[in-house]
């Protein structure tokens, strides 16, 4: 909890510097947030190339909307909300164009795996199992267990109640356990 608080305080300080017009603040924010936001976008798009493009677009949107961040609030949910928004806008645009193509296998990103689940199976099995969980549940699970957002923060990010966020994440975790148990028992390929 303390490390999370320290990390949040650090991020807030960087954002305040950035809002004051200092590029160093933005550079350090990028260094701190690019990886988690990239992983998050990768888990949403399931397409490494698109995720990479959307990551740049996310930071541009963060730049345009930097005045909407209030230093009294945690930064990570705000940044994740903008990333999610950028992804949804892109998805809507693609739907309008009717141009949704399945990514080739070469471009598929590795799904990030929560540390606490790493003992259950190999990383590869975990990533495959995560890929089979429903999108809503996977998103809540990753946001909480991997990116460290509280259920309340996930609720305000997704526009759902805190309890619903908790339910989605716990159902996702239960589904993950079930999938992995079936691997161990029957040797079925996840």
């Amino acid at each position: 909890v303390n490390s999370t608080t320290a990390e949040e305080t650090h991020l807030r300080d960087l954002m305040v510097q950035y809002q004051a017009g200092r590029i160093e603040g933005f550079e350090q924010l990028y260094a701190a947030l690019a990886q988690p936001l990239g992983q998050y976008l990768g888990s949403l798009t399931r397409d490494a190339v698109r995720a990479s493009d959307l990551l740049q677009e996310t930071f541009l949107q963060i730049h345009r909307s930097r005045h909407t961040y209030s230093p009294t609030l945690p930064l990570k949910p705000w940044a994740f909300a903008i990333a999610r928004h950028v992804y949804l806008m892109e998805a809507r645009r693609l739907r309008r164009l009717g141009a949704h193509e399945a990514p080739s296998e070469d471009t598929l990103p590795d799904l990030p795996v929560p540390a606490e689940a790493e003992d259950w199976a190999s990383r590869d099995q975990l990533a495959r199992a995560l890929g089979r969980i429903g999108e809503d549940r996977r998103e809540a699970l990753l946001l909480h267990h991997l990116f460290g957002l509280s259920f309340r923060e996930i609720g305000t990010l997704l526009g759902i109640r805190e309890g619903a966020a908790k339910l989605r994440a716990s159902r996702g975790m239960a589904e993950l356990r079930t999938l992995l148990a079936s691997v161990h028992q029957g040797g079925a390929r996840v």
Partner: protein
């Protein structure tokens, strides 16, 4: 779903030169947005103007004495406060990562309509006035049309305030501030319109509140599409 164990290129944390240039070009100090409720207070003068201006310009309703100060001014002030609260909720919703849950949005909208119904019934219980025969449509048109017109400026200012943030669900923010604007107008208009017949009030006045809610959602949608090309 197929997955590979390849590392995605998105894990790099080195700032791309192109992005750095783009940010540097537009980098200037910005002041964080004030709290949503503080920004909603921007509309308080509009509300006060409606409360004072409608009776001053159109005249106070004929049965004001029968209705009494508490029910007349008190309930209008309550509607005004609730309308402001809904606009505050819309501005809250418009900030990233401060989205309201769907049940909260539904509850806020239902409470807005419920308050209107309650005010209507309370007023009708004290002073029951009906629309003159064969003039229903005329009265409906006057009340509905004027309320929607009076709500226009409030709607535009609320929309501008919401657009200053980054509403991730523009329609939700729009419906909330639309209904808030409608309640603000209704708080003033009921000081003039002496008809307390629930059918008239709910169809004409309530209809204008619903129309402003829909207009708010449409305005926000169009505004966001024009502003941000969504």
């Amino acid at each position: 779903l197929h997955l590979s164990t390849k590392e995605a290129p998105v894990s790099e944390s080195v700032l791309p030169a192109e992005l750095r240039r783009a940010v540097e070009q537009g980098l200037r100090p910005v002041r964080p947005l004030r709290a949503p409720w503080k920004r909603a207070l921007t509309l308080l003068p509009f509300g006060a103007l409606l409360l004072a201006g409608v009776p001053w310009y159109f005249g106070l309703r004929g049965d004001a004495g029968t209705v009494g100060g508490a029910l007349l001014w008190g309930l209008s002030a309550l509607q005004l406060c609730f309308g402001m609260a809904l606009i505050g909720a819309a501005l809250h919703e418009a900030v990233p990562a401060r989205s309201l849950s769907w049940p909260a949005v539904a509850l806020a909208l239902a409470a807005g309509l419920g308050l209107m119904v309650a005010v209507t019934l309370a007023t009708d219980a004290v002073s029951s006035t009906r629309v003159p025969p064969r003039l229903d449509t005329f009265f409906w048109g006057v009340c509905f049309g004027t309320s929607v017109l009076l709500g226009g400026p409030v709607l535009v200012v609320s929309g501008w305030l919401a657009s200053r943030a980054l509403p991730l669900r523009p329609e939700v923010a729009g419906v909330l501030y639309g209904m808030g604007s409608g309640l603000l107008v209704e708080a003033g208009w009921r000081l003039y319109c002496h008809i307390s017949d629930p059918v008239h009030v709910l169809l004409a006045h309530g209809g204008s509140v619903l129309a402003l809610s829909v207009l708010g959602a449409l305005l926000m949608r169009v505004w966001e599409r024009v502003l941000r090309g969504r």
